[in-house]
């Protein structure tokens, strides 16, 4: 969950902001010295903005967004004050000692007290500063490793007689199921499951209480949890990601996973979700095959979406960042919505809609209405070294803002992949698309209902060498998307 603060450029805000930042850091898992360092970094940045960003305005305001993932925390500070370039304000200790000129001291502390300090110039839209810190997952890894070494051996399911008649019940998960879910994950995967949150009952409970997660749990006749399947709701749209699925080894091949998936789809419909989607890895076709069994359709191929991972069952490390497909399942029929498709991708997008069974009518406006200013949001995934840019509105400054943002991003972070989502229900998209293409983006696919309950065209800019032959796609239509991307990538 993101936390946003909108604050005025008044020095009285510094202490409360720092108090909040420190508490937030501790809650996110930083220890006291690290929380203090990160808070000093935030204090430095907030002070600099109050002192220097708005020299001719007695009262202005700026925004802070606090973001947390399992492995990382990030504070994004956005302001629209005077242009600024951090590289021009380097601290010089000799000058400080001899002349008492401490310019750049705060920036030096920010750089030292964060793992990443990123400055994004958004042109007329202002500036963004991103301060991030990795959470110390090594300690957790070590604990997990230690615990694994002490753990008694799991019974080999292939040698265990599978009970002939199993009666089980499937019900919607509630916060009180959290501990059973964590135990089930542990019993099934030991500590090799990729989503570490699921080893922490309190974290599961938190997402269930926050209604971010929707899922089902299967119990045997003794009430023991034997299966779990859940989706995570997207924050900015009414769709959810199919993300977590497990069946205890002793109870596999009994149709439990299928029953849960069917129940989950029903539950999602009851909650009036517009659709479900899954990101399926492409180093093997297994997950894609499961998705397609339940009528999910491949709509996009995201190259280099996650860093190289050692997957259990693979002899060697996969030699390149892992690409994923987006598989989407619409849950309700939609009335023909009006979409504005860029000409070069009109055919493939219409075909994708056709595969999904979603009726659309293609429209075109020769003089589309533009917003006064562009509204573009950037999200950085530090762990996977990717970024996602979501365009909410186009303004006359779109080219400058996007170019500046990309330049800042590439210079400082050089992500493996940058994805950009363009709103297909915005009449300016066909015209503005040329700007995005000119910046080196290629096709990725359709991101149905991904933001603001509307469809987006996802494009991608890949900054790392990939062997596309290693990417396995299950469906014929997915193959078609891959062929188009391969054509542009080469």
């Amino acid at each position: 969950m993101d936390i946003q603060l909108h604050i005025s450029t008044d020095e009285e805000v510094i202490t409360p902001v720092c108090d909040f930042t420190y508490s937030w850091c501790i809650n996110c898992g930083l220890n006291d010295p690290e929380a203090t360092r990160f808070t000093v970094a935030v204090s430095e940045l907030v002070s600099d903005i109050i002192l220097f960003a708005f020299p001719y305005e007695s009262k202005a305001s700026f925004d802070l967004t606090f973001k947390q993932t399992l492995s990382n925390i990030e504070v994004v500070v956005s302001e629209a004050g005077e242009p600024f370039d951090p590289d021009q304000h380097r601290y010089n200790p000799k000058r400080a000692r001899k002349e008492g000129d401490f310019e750049g001291a705060g920036l030096r502390l920010i750089r030292r007290f964060c793992d990443e300090f990123l400055f994004i110039n958004k042109g007329k839209e202002g500036k963004e500063f991103r301060l991030s810190k990795r959470l110390n997952v090594h300690d957790i890894d070590e604990l997990l490793e230690l615990s694994r070494s002490k753990k008694p051996e799991e019974p080999d399911s292939s040698k265990t007689a599978v009970p002939e008649d199993i009666s089980y019940t499937i019900s919607q998960i509630t916060p009180s199921d959290a501990e059973d879910i964590a135990k089930l994950i542990y019993r099934t995967y030991e500590y090799s499951y990729s989503k570490e949150d699921l080893y922490y009952p309190k974290k599961i409970e938190k997402t269930l209480l926050g209604k971010e997660k929707l899922g089902v749990i299967t119990r045997n006749q003794n009430g023991m949890a034997i299966g779990y399947f859940a989706v995570l709701k997207k924050e900015d749209s009414n769709v959810a990601e199919v993300g977590e699925a497990v069946v205890s080894p002793d109870y596999r091949r009994r149709g439990i996973m299928s029953s849960m998936m069917e129940q989950l789809i029903l539950t999602a419909k009851e909650h009036q979700l517009d659709g479900l989607y899954g990101k399926a890895v492409t180093l093997h076709p297994v997950s894609q095959r499961v998705n397609h069994k339940y009528n999910f359709i491949t709509t996009a191929l995201m190259l280099a979406e996650s860093n190289n991972i050692v997957f259990k069952g693979f002899d060697e490390e996969y030699p390149q960042p892992v690409s994923v497909v987006i598989d989407y399942l619409p849950l309700f029929e939609t009335e023909g919505k009006k979409v504005y498709l860029p000409e070069p991708y009109a055919d493939i997008l219409l075909e994708t809609y056709n595969e999904l069974g979603v009726s659309v009518s293609r429209d075109y406006e020769s003089s589309p209405t533009m917003a006064e200013k562009s509204d573009i949001q950037l999200t950085i995934d530090y762990q996977d070294n990717t970024s996602l840019i979501v365009v909410n509105r186009y303004g006359s400054d779109f080219n400058t803002v996007l170019s500046n943002m990309l330049e800042s991003l590439q210079e400082q972070e050089n992500p493996n992949a940058v994805y950009i989502d363009l709103p297909l229900e915005n009449s300016a998209t066909p015209e503005q698309f040329d700007i995005v293409k000119s910046l080196g983006f290629i096709y990725c696919g359709l991101a149905p209902m991904f933001h603001q309950d509307s469809d987006y065209l996802r494009l991608q800019k890949i900054n790392t060498a990939l062997e596309l032959e290693l990417i396995e796609i299950f469906s014929d239509f997915g193959q078609k998307i891959k062929a188009l991307i391969a054509d542009e990538y080469c």
Binding site: E11, E12, I14, T15, P16, C18, D19, Y22, P33, T36, R37, T39, V40, S43, E44, S47, I50, L51, Y91, P93, A96, R97, G100, F102, A105, G106, R108, L109, R112
Partner: protein
């Protein structure tokens, strides 16, 4: 609210119960300084946070010929002095109490 609790004693200003030392603290303190004040005594026993605004203010205060005495300065202060490469040129007058 960052309340700065000060007490004037002749030529000394004592800062008590300082919880955080930042831009606001610095400005409040500066507003209470007069030409007659030549010494600052700051009790950092309850202070977790000091940033460059606070540290530079104290550095300039001492390096302009005034006296400075600190009680229980926080660990982060020494770390910042090291990062800003001021630790070897600043003879900091401080003491740590046993109960801290």
């Amino acid at each position: 609210m960052n309340i700065v609790n000060t007490h004037k004693d002749g030529t000394t200003i004592q800062v008590r119960d300082c919880k955080t030392f930042n831009l606001q603290t610095k400005n409040v303190l500066k507003s209470r300084l007069t030409d007659k004040i030549t010494k600052l005594y700051i009790d950092f026993s309850h202070c977790k946070l000091i940033d460059s605004e606070g540290i530079i203010f104290l550095y300039e205060w001492q390096h302009s010929g005034n006296e400075l005495e600190l009680k229980n300065p926080p660990e982060i202060m020494f770390e910042i002095l090291n990062i800003l490469e001021l630790d070897d040129t600043w003879d900091l007058n401080y003491f740590i109490t046993e109960d801290n």
